[in-house]
């Protein structure tokens, strides 16, 4: 177990006890949110800055709502980036943020390690809201919370993570968290989208979706970016959907009560069929969004207490 960190930069390095504590706290916020109450004194007087170097309405809004429900002053900064001056912007921004006495800093960046670099330079507690192809820790926490609410416990569950694992920070964080919590994790996708070294994280690899889904409790789909096709990693969207898109037929290979997840935004008809995505019984996709707010409230709360995670 690593010493308590004043930042949340990655799932890597978190102890299962820390993960459980965060999920328990998030659970209480999920109940609070459903009750319609707020705890606006929790972060009253604190400043939360959403620093997004990459567009993401969904994640930014989730953090914004989480901060506001806890009473923080929330400011959104979208930093227009050109490929040339990204780095300078990053460190210049760090100096600016220090001058503003920001308490909590949520960072989204297209470069792996950018939040960690920023964390070395700012006084605020840094929360990684997704960096390059590295990690997206709050996504993994919200996924775990969603699963836990439906299955009671994470340990022992069979989770299939399907799609573009190679370029997915969501996949890395989820694998690390779910393996740490005792799940049996499989990754499913074409070899061009699965890094060979992924087995080092304790997962099994499947290139046939039906075999990969067989007996799974949870089917977690990943977003396939258009760019992957232009770079030739998969030949076409329709070929991808044919072999790796989640439809009723493939889902039938999983457990009869298997649940479907997707971090969003979805490419309907590419990695997931609409009727599966919108299935009120099997799909947890909307609940994931709801749990996202609760998890982010828990992370902001925990980090603002000063003792770290």
């Amino acid at each position: 177990m690593q010493p308590a960190s004043r930042h949340l930069l990655a799932i890597q390095g978190l102890h299962p006890r820390q993960i459980t504590a965060l999920l328990d706290l998030a659970e209480s916020y999920a109940l609070l949110n459903r009750s319609g109450k707020t705890q606006r004194d929790r972060l009253r007087g604190r400043t939360l800055i959403n620093l997004f170097f990459e567009d993401s309405t969904r994640t930014r809004t989730s953090f914004e709502l989480a901060g506001k429900r806890l009473g923080a002053d929330v400011i959104n900064m979208s930093v227009a980036t050109s490929s040339v001056n990204k780095g300078e912007t990053l460190l210049d921004t760090a100096a600016t943020l220090n001058a503003m006495h920001c308490d909590l800093l949520v960072v989204r960046h297209d470069q792996s390690g950018a939040p960690a670099l920023l964390a070395q330079k700012v006084d605020a507690a840094v929360i990684n809201a997704g960096d390059g192809t590295h990690e997206h820790p709050t996504q993994a926490l919200l996924d775990a919370l969603t699963i836990r609410r439906h299955r009671g416990e994470l340990a022992g569950l069979v989770v299939a993570i399907c799609g573009d694992v190679a370029h997915s920070r969501v996949a890395r964080s989820n694998i690390l968290l779910l393996v740490a919590m005792g799940c049996s994790v499989r990754v499913v996708g074409p070899p061009t989208l699965i890094p060979g070294a992924i087995t080092a994280l304790g997962v099994s690899v499947h290139h046939d979706m039906r075999a990969g889904l067989a007996g799974a409790d949870i089917v977690m789909m990943l977003r396939l970016q258009r760019e992957r096709m232009t770079r030739g990693l998969v030949p076409s969207a329709r070929e991808y959907f044919r072999f790796f898109g989640l439809d009723r037929d493939k889902l039938a290979y999983a457990k009869p009560d298997a649940l479907v997840m997707h971090p969003g935004p979805m490419n309907r008809g590419v990695e997931i069929a609409s009727d599966v995505a919108d299935d009120p019984v099997r799909s947890l996709i909307r609940e994931q969004v709801e749990m996202g707010v609760a998890v982010r409230m828990a992370v902001l709360d925990a980090l603002s207490r000063g003792g770290g995670l």
């Binding site: 780095g87 070294a197 992924i198």
Partner: protein, 425 residues
């Protein structure tokens, strides 16, 4: 007329002559007048007690980028020369991919002259193999050679075109001078920040498969076989590529290679949490490759150790890892980190010194890296066992981008002489 200098009681190691003995060395008028055994001090000679220290030829660094011309904010020739002197280096081959690139005879002459101005460092410029090091058309190799280009290459850029590489290897046969390749298949390596594998995957960094080195090495070995040209591979870093080079040498091809200290002292884990000072080109490899590089040094597959010095400013490095500029400062740490292989038991001390002196001089075909009577007194005196710690920010010279930050080493340069003049210590 300077006073004669008598260095007394040093362990004289000159791998070129097979010398390893305790004795004296006498310098008169900038040249080695005599060495070995006990020598009488001429009238008025300066005496220096070197007992317990090693005296060897000034080091020959066969691969270093200088910030000048084009990147003076990173390093000037004067600051590089200071770092070299502190590292015991008296002769250096400068990479051609400066701005402008060394593709014009006048630039080659300029670099040589700038070296002479330092009075501490002989600079042998590489000539660009292709104009602007752009890999599109052959540079004027003959004119560059006439101006003093020691060999030809495109620096940090791989000569990607098989046709151009064939032409260069073939054409250079009539003018002398090796073709030096940065062996990394460039399409596979495009955008990569680390070696493919678990470490890059965990950090979410784009990786290049280690086999990209072997692919380039194999192609170029076949072109050397076809043309009979003289080929050199720079900073070889993988077991597979070393295997191919070993086989090419066994076939009698005129193929040589070097490596650099990071590749036998560090592995990919030195990246840690995106430590951009450990971002190199080629990237650091797996431990098995590091061990293969150590073996290649010991068995002679690797001909020489070069600093692979690439000065970078803090602003080049304080970026998200994939955007940070690759390269490490290496002049001041070349000797100590190489000696670590000797301390570690892989290399004998004379072999370690040979890799830094006579061997690179042989590959380049220059008269340096040796201690014969009548030679210019380019000398390096060091304490083999004196420990120190490499600290980024405290290195001599301007460039501080060392991947060895914090590493304790043994082997401290006590004095460096260029043509008999003390330039360090």
């Amino acid at each position: 007329m300077t006073r004669p200098l008598l260095l007394r009681g040093a362990r004289l190691i000159d791998p070129d002559a097979g010398r390893d003995e305790v004795g004296d060395l006498l310098v008169i008028d900038g040249r080695i007048a005599d060495l070995g055994g006990t020598l009488a001090a001429p009238d008025g000679a300066e005496l220096l007690d070197a007992a317990g220290a090693v005296l060897c030829p000034g080091l020959v660094d066969m691969r270093a980028a200088l910030g000048e011309p084009g990147f003076e904010y990173r390093e000037t020739i004067a600051s590089a020369a200071a770092a070299a002197a502190a590292g015991g280096i008296t002769t250096l081959a400068a990479l051609p991919d400066s701005v402008p690139a060394l593709d014009d005879p006048a630039l080659v002459r300029l670099l040589r002259a700038r070296g002479e101005e330092t009075a501490s460092l002989t600079i042998h410029p590489y000539g660009a193999a292709t104009r602007g090091c752009r890999g599109e058309e052959l540079a004027e190799l003959g004119l560059l050679r006439e101006a003093g280009a020691v060999a030809f290459g495109d620096g940090q850029a791989c000569i990607a075109s098989a046709r151009l590489m064939k032409l260069a290897l073939s054409y250079a046969r009539c003018i002398g001078g090796r073709i030096v390749q940065h062996p990394e298949e460039p399409v596979l390596a495009a955008g990569a920040a680390a070696t493919d594998g678990e470490w890059a995957m965990r950090l979410g960094l784009p990786g290049v498969p280690a086999v990209a080195e072997l692919i380039q090495v194999q192609r170029d070995i076949e072109l050397a076989r076809l043309t009979g040209g003289a080929l050199h591979f720079a900073h070889v870093s993988t077991a597979a590529a070393l295997g191919a080079i070993r086989a090419a040498k066994a076939d009698g091809l005129n193929v040589t290679c070097d490596t650099a200290p990071p590749y036998f002292d560090l592995n990919e884990t030195a990246i840690g949490d995106w430590r951009s000072y450990a971002k190199l080109s080629p990237p650091l490899r797996r431990e098995a490759d590091r061990l293969a590089v150590c073996a290649g040094l010991a068995d002679g597959t690797i001909d020489a150790v070069a600093s692979d010095h690439q000065p970078r400013d803090a602003d080049d490095k304080r970026l998200p890892f994939a955007q940070a500029s690759p390269g490490a400062a290496g002049l001041a740490t070349l000797l100590a980190v190489t000696l670590a292989r000797g301390h570690g038991g892989d290399l004998t001390l004379p072999r370690a010194i040979e890799l830094l002196t006579a061997a690179p001089a042989r590959v380049l075909g220059i008269e340096a890296g040796r201690m014969r009577r009548g030679d210019p007194a380019d000398l390096c005196l060091f304490d083999l066992d004196a420990g120190w710690q490499i600290v980024a920010g405290e290195l001599p010279g301007k460039a501080q981008n060392t991947p060895f930050d914090g590493r304790p080493v043994e082997g401290r340069v006590l004095g460096t002489w260029k043509a008999g003049r003390r330039v360090h210590g």
